[in-house]
Symmetry: C2
Subunit: 186 residues, 2 copies
Amino acid sequence: MATRVFSFLAGHRGPWQITQISCLVGEPLPPAGRLAMVTGTPDSSPDPVAWTLRGIRSNERYVNRQERGQLTGAQQGLGRPASSCAALIPIRKTAAWWMLTQDERRAIFEEQSHHIQVGLKHLPPVARQLHHCRDLSEQEPFDFLTWFEYAPEYESAFDEMLAEMRASEEWAYVDREIDIRVVRDP
Amino acid sequence: MATRVFSFLAGHRGPWQITQISCLVGEPLPPAGRLAMVTGTPDSSPDPVAWTLRGIRSNERYVNRQERGQLTGAQQGLGRPASSCAALIPIRKTAAWWMLTQDERRAIFEEQSHHIQVGLKHLPPVARQLHHCRDLSEQEPFDFLTWFEYAPEYESAFDEMLAEMRASEEWAYVDREIDIRVVRDP
């Protein structure tokens, strides 16, 4: 069976050097120097970790067939050699969001906020992988962990994509968001 | 925070007497005499358990605003004194189902299989609570656990509802299903 659970460990070890942790809304995360993405949920770590976040690569909840075709045609995978920059962006959405029905969430997500179309504009330079946290347990600190990889020359385009997302109607339902930037050792 | 994770423990204890465990498709579950529904994930049980299944009461994935209005108007809660019969029906869906996009799953679920409308015909006599398992971990044996409660005189209507569901297009994507019937001690 393919591994679906992934954990992000922040501490003194890991291939990614943390360059910035910005808290946009809600409670911040403690500072740390390095970040590792590992498969599964580590029972214990040989090194002290500042924090661990975990999520599951699950089925898509909003994308329709036509959009999946566009995404599959455009997106590239993680681990491209030129992608020496990455970002981990954990977000939590409000109780009001989760009380909406599927058709209402979809309407805000795409018809009003153009989440998929905004993302498509920036593929393939930005590779993206979503992890769902909400149903792993009832104590998860975030609902989603999104991991992005890109080459250094696309950082300003990546920032523009985030600014466009954050100005959308959908982001009115985000009550915690941290933006963690990392670079890979040469 | 409201408890969202629930566990079903089958063994020698619990308020529900198991009267039948029928395996409709896929691997069966071991026999057991009693069933208990508890909040959370028990770390250990003082009594030997035959099996434990757990799921999370999560946001709805298919119901639209109009349907939620119909459901909210019709359905009654769990724990009604007259509901001395109950059923736990764990199901797993195929990989092909999870590869469908949201609009395709919704079309099979409701426009073709009338899952919500079939359920509505039998509310309020049958109370229903869905638990999602799929994103709790990557080792869960089922995708969904549905718990139904009803008075003994509605058992044949309940069986008709299940027969209608199981004859639907949606059930072509079910590759494991167990039907566990229980009665409450007087």
